[in-house]
Symmetry: C2
Subunit: 161 residues, 2 copies
């Protein structure tokens, strides 16, 4: 494994930890995200749709909001985002608007659809292509670990959601 | 003019008033939105990207957040949204997630691109089609009045933005 890959996995593990926090607290779907810049963590967040009663509260949107607040700018050029699941069309668009350079994800929109999320089925690669976005996309980072979040969520969900 | 059209224009005028507020306060782009349910206003907002230093602060997203907070639910079924400009891919996706039934807009994404916004050029109709969304789309509501916001914004922008 290349050093850069290991590096990346470290950040995905942070995103996974965040997703797990959301599952435990029953605050939303089993999704986490982490934004980094120059090898350092800028912000991380999990899905809080249930907590906030709001569809906008996806992990990526929350992380972008936190990063922007921290850096005091909307332009997040030079940043990268790790997302346990492929960003939905809303989040991919926010990533594009924020000029984040690269998105890494584990599971796909298709996987999320399978466990019941009402996604618009447009993969990030398709959004990028039709929308002529320059965001780079790397999929399959710690996919198995990210998939495990779905089972944990389903188990937790049986109890309350 | 049919009564229903007049009705709709009343809400678009509210969205325009909001956009104008944002231009005056120099808080972001010249965009406003208004969410209604059963003929009554639930929430309205304008673009606050500059105020919040955050790309997520589009008028539609702000309006959805406010409406969700007010109604204490993420599911905005039965609601409609008026937007001075065609919702970008981020906002259209949020509208889809929130189960808002209908979106009315004045100017188009193409118009917004012309005045310099870094849009992904995917019209709502295309998003709807590829993503199999059931959101209804009505364009061209008070288009001229919405276009005028762009000139007002350009004039205001010369001074500070």
């Amino acid at each position: 494994m290349k050093k850069s890959e290991k590096h990346g996995e470290k950040f995905m593990l942070l995103a996974i930890r965040e997703a797990r926090k959301g599952i435990r607290k029953k605050e939303g779907g089993p999704f986490g995200a982490c934004i980094i810049r120059g090898g350092k963590v800028v912000a991380y967040a999990h899905n809080e749709v249930l907590l906030d009663h709001c569809v906008v509260s996806h992990a990526e949107i929350k992380a972008i909001t936190k990063a922007s607040r921290k850096l005091k700018k909307w332009d997040l050029s030079g940043c990268e985002i790790y997302s346990t699941t492929e960003p939905c069309t809303m989040c991919f668009s926010a990533i594009h608007w924020a000029r984040i350079e690269k998105v890494y994800f584990g599971t796909t929109i298709k996987d999320a659809k399978k466990i019941g999320f009402n996604e618009m089925m447009i993969p990030d690669e398709k959004m990028k292509k039709i929308g002529k976005s320059s965001v780079k996309i790397i999929e399959g980072v710690l996919r198995e670990e990210c998939l495990a979040l779905f089972s944990e969520w389903k188990k937790a969900r049986g109890k309350k959601y």
